[in-house]
Structure formats: C-alpha cells, structure tokens
C-alpha cells in the first residue's frame, strides 16, 4: 500500500487531504458521517478574537460549476474555540489547524498569541477573506502588506504558521515569497476569487453582501496555475486548494506543486469526498508503483 503520509512544517499528516476552512465548521456535522481521521487535517472555521455574527443573508449563490459565498466570518470567537471546540477536535486523530482572522494587525497578533498557548497543531493565517468589510483580504493583496502582517504575527506565533494566500493579486509568487521571507512555515492557496451574480429581474445582487468568494470546480485551473507558480518560487511547503473535486484533481494539484491539499466546496456536493479521494489516490499510486505521495509533489514536466 502506498504511503499517503506527508509532513508539513514538522507536522505529520496521515494523508495529504485537509478540510478547507469554512466548509467544515469545527467538524461536528461531517463527523456524524465518518471519523474525522479520514482527513489528514482539518482547517477550522475562520476564528476572530471576538464572536462575529457574519453577514446578512442571502450568503450563497450558485455559479456554473461552482458557488459564491459571503458568510462574513461568522464564528463564536477564539475563547469558545479554544475552550469548547478544541478539546473535542484534539480527540479526533487528525491534525487540528486553527484559521485565524482579524480586522487589524493587533487583532492578528493577539489571536495568534492565544492560539499559540493552546493545543492547536498549526495556525493558518487568513489574510485573504474577501467577505468582510475591514481587514481580511486587505492584508493579503500585496507583497508588502503580506510581509508586514506575517512578520508581526511571527513574533507572537510559537506554532507552525501557514499563510493563506488570496488569488486576487497580480503576482501570486511574489506574495508567497514575501510570506516566506517574513517567517511563514508554509503557504496555502488559493482562497476564493471575488465574484458577483445579479438577478436580472430584480437587478439586485443575488448575495446581500454584493460580492462573494467564488469556489468549486470552476476555479480549479486557476488554483493549479498559482500552486505551480508558487512552488517554483518558494522553499517552504505549499498546500494547494481551489476546486478539487476528484482524486484525479488531487493528484494533479500535487504534481503541480502541492505538498498537501485542501478540499472544501466538494463536501457540499459529496460529503464522502475525502474517502473517495484518498481511496482514488491510493489506487492510482499502487497501479503506478509510487511508494510515497511525497515523490509526486512538483513533478510536472514542462
């Protein structure tokens, strides 16, 4: 049997499939269907210092082969996460990644400090949420701003630090390099692409927030391209995500340059996707005589 385990910034994952932040909450719901250990790791719902109510509805719109969302970081706050969600998550035999968001640099530093004192295995810094008015993506849209926030947070962070990158930038490789040079242990990409839908009869946006983050199979080729570009630019591990739907997509993303992958929107179509994808990867590797998934990363031949 092929070895699916990967190591990201010193953390061992049983398999390279991580649940993407915002699509699995804190794991309880999909945990009704299967043990959460089917995932190598779980990136939890984006968490802020204080509880946030999120955006007014509608928050969801369907798009060709994808969807828009503008949930707006609805979450119960970091204290609840650490005291209530984390103790349960730590028993699920999967890597627990906290996804940290904020409105100011100070917020990001504070929440990182609190999470560094907790039992989370890793911290993923969400500087790319397109759906909140203040903060979020504003920190993630230029190499300068990414370098600044990453170095500030790094000083407070004793856990492996993943910077989650926005695709809504001119040059993703330079943004990833900025994160690396400021002390990131890994990068994950891509967050959602900013999109919009309009109801032609009412002439109103479908989503109350006007714009939303686009995800799903439609964004997959964009994600593959960006992961490929980032992997060429940086030495730190790259976690690839964006529209992965099948096991073939997962392998393609790894060949493009991903050391691990995240799946998100596909869970809404098929809740059993993590099992289907890991079995598919396993079968393909066995057929091709590939002993370890690590041999596959960044093996695209140009």
């Amino acid at each position: 049997m092929a070895d699916l385990s990967v190591n990201i910034a010193g953390v061992e994952f049983n398999n390279p499939i991580i649940a993407a932040s915002g699509t699995i909450g804190f794991g309880h719901e999909y945990g009704e269907l299967y043990p959460l250990s089917v995932f190598g790791g779980i990136s939890c719902k984006g968490t802020t210092l204080q509880e946030r109510p999120g955006n007014p509805p509608p928050r969801i719109a369907e798009t060709p082969m994808g969807m828009l969302n503008a949930v707006g970081l609805q979450n119960p706050g970091v204290e609840h996460f650490v005291n209530v969600e984390l103790p349960w998550l730590k028993k699920q035999n999967t890597v627990v990644i906290a996804n940290a968001a904020g409105s100011t640099e100070e917020d990001y530093c504070k929440i990182t400090e609190i999470l560094s004192d907790s039992d989370v295995d890793m911290i993923e810094l969400n500087i790319s949420c397109p759906n909140v008015k203040k903060g979020g993506a504003q920190f993630g849209t230029s190499p300068e701003s990414v370098e600044k926030i990453t170095s500030a947070v790094r000083k407070h962070c004793t856990k492996p630090l993943i910077i989650k990158l926005s695709p809504n930038v001119a040059d993703i490789a330079s943004v990833a390099l900025a994160a690396e040079s400021a002390g990131a242990d890994a990068v994950s990409l891509i967050n959602t692409l900013t999109g919009m839908r309009i109801d032609i009869n009412t002439r109103r946006p479908v989503i109350k927030n006007v714009t939303g983050g686009m995800s799903g199979p439609a964004v997959f080729p964009v994600a593959v391209r960006m992961v490929y570009q980032v992997k060429k630019a940086v030495k730190i591990p790259v976690i690839g995500l964006g529209g992965i739907t099948t096991w073939q997509d997962a392998i393609e993303m790894i060949i493009a340059g991903a050391d691990a992958i995240q799946i998100g929107t596909v869970l809404f179509t098929d809740p059993y996707a993590p099992i289907r994808i890991s079995e598919g990867i396993q079968g393909w590797m066995d057929t091709h005589g590939i002993a370890s998934i690590r041999e596959l990363t960044a093996t695209v031949e140009i």
């Binding site: 007014p56 509805p57 509608p58 369907e62 969807m67 199979p217 809404f268 179509t269």
Partner: protein, 252 residues
C-alpha cells in the same frame, strides 16, 4: 445515525401541476428516521450545490418529496425517470414538534403545502389544514389531505378554486379554537400568520427557506436573522437550527 448521504431509487414520479412534481424515493433506512418538517438535500447532476426539498410524506420505506421547477437545478431534477438513482442527504434539519394533546392548525402556501401533509398526518384527524394557492392550476395534494381525515380548507388568490383570497382569511375564523399554528410558505404569508398568532396568543412555528450550500450546518450559508433576548439580532441557520423556527424568535 442522524442523517446520511445515500442513494434512493425513484419508484414513482408524478406531475401533479404544470410545474410541480411528486417524487417517491425508496430508501428504508433514511425513511425510517425522517420526521415531519425535515428536508432532503438532493444531488443534481452537473451542479455543485444540492437542492433542499422538504419531505412531503413518509410511507413505509419511501420518502415523498414534492417540488416546483423554479430554475435549472429543479428542471434537471424533473427529468429523472422512474428506476433512476437519486442521491440525497437526509433527514436534515429540525422539523415540527407535534404534541398529540394540542389542537393544531397547519397552514401551507403554494410549494409550502407539501411538508404540511406528513405533519398533519402525524397530528391526526383533529387538526385543521388551510392551504393557499395562486390559482386553480397550482392546487396540489387535495385528495391526500382529505385522506388523513383532517378538516381541509383551500383558498386561491384569484378565487378560481376554493375560497377567494389568502389563507389568513379562514385562519382568522378558526384560530381561536386552536392551541398552535404551524406554517410553511412565502415569507410575507408567514409574517402575517406570525402576527395573527401573536395577537391571538397562540404558539406559532414557521418553516423557512434560504439559499443553502452544505445542508448540514457546517458552512453557515443559509443564515436567518433571529432575535436575541436583548433585542439584538443574531444569525441561525435554516439547515441545522431550522427549517422550523418559533415565529416569535424570527427577526422578520
């Protein structure tokens, strides 16, 4: 098991109004745990998002769903043929609590009528059902409701069938004799029913709709504004906290 994603066999398909279909989905395991007011999240081939459809009835090992063709997704669903496999996540959400010792009025509007069938059946023949439709062509499930022995009142907006007017007309005449009102339908209708129930000091539960993604409570997409005790509004979710909410809590 609370819910699961499983295949069902489409064992019956009926077009019961020009744009409304009645599907019978066979799955003994899921049927056995489905309660009134819950919904099934139906996989649509070629679509990223499933379609949440309320359960109309459960008979033995068959879950019955009645849906209206409203867009591309439901149009694709309507093309399924008897014998086809339909993948659903079910049963989902919190349905109607139906106390046996209370007199309940069920009110359905348009495509909000189907979930009232299983609910009224569960309540028994002492209940009153008031169903409202746009016009005669949209009237559905009359014989089914008659079959459960409830008192059935039907209205159409234009008077082409049944009582002329909205459901709130007949509701006003019978509400004082009831303990509780359960309703599903367009938001303006639900809002008016909630207001009337409050004026008559009756408990009122409403089944709400919202654009939905995961269906299970993970993504927080299908938000609905809920009043907190201090008067501020928080968001709960149609898929997990609902679709049935106490009307008093809803920030209309």
């Amino acid at each position: 098991m609370k819910f699961d994603a499983q295949d069902c066999i489409l064992v019956g398909k009926y077009r019961i109004a020009p744009t409304i279909y009645d599907f019978r989905l066979k799955n003994p395991e899921l049927a056995s745990i489905t309660a009134p007011g819950q919904f099934a999240h139906i996989l649509i081939p070629g679509k990223t998002l499933r379609r949440p459809i309320s359960v109309c009835d459960v008979e033995d090992d068959v879950i019955r769903v009645v849906f209206e063709v409203r867009g591309e997704g439901t149009a694709i669903l309507s093309e399924f043929k008897v014998g086809d496999t339909v993948n659903i996540i079910a049963p989902l959400g919190r349905g109607f609590d139906i106390p046996k010792d209370k007199k309940i009025i069920f009110v359905g509007g348009g495509i909000g009528v189907p979930p009232m069938l299983y609910s009224a059946k569960t309540a028994g023949n002492s209940c009153i059902v008031i169903n409202g439709f746009r016009d005669k062509s949209a009237v559905i499930l009359t014989e089914d409701f008659k079959g459960i022995g409830c008192t059935l009142i039907e209205t159409t907006d234009n008077g082409s069938y049944g009582i002329h007017g909205f459901v709130t007309g007949p509701l006003a005449e019978v509400i004082d004799g009831a303990d509780m009102v359960c309703a599903c339908g367009p938001t303006p209708m639900l809002k008016n029913i909630a207001k009337m129930a409050k004026e008559h000091a009756k408990e009122c539960f409403v089944s709400l709709e919202q654009r939905m993604a995961c269906g299970v409570g993970a993504c927080l997409g299908c938000a609905v504004g809920i009043k907190k005790e201090d008067g501020s509004v928080t968001y709960k979710h149609v898929c997990k906290n609902g679709p049935v909410f106490n009307a008093e809590e809803v920030a209309w």
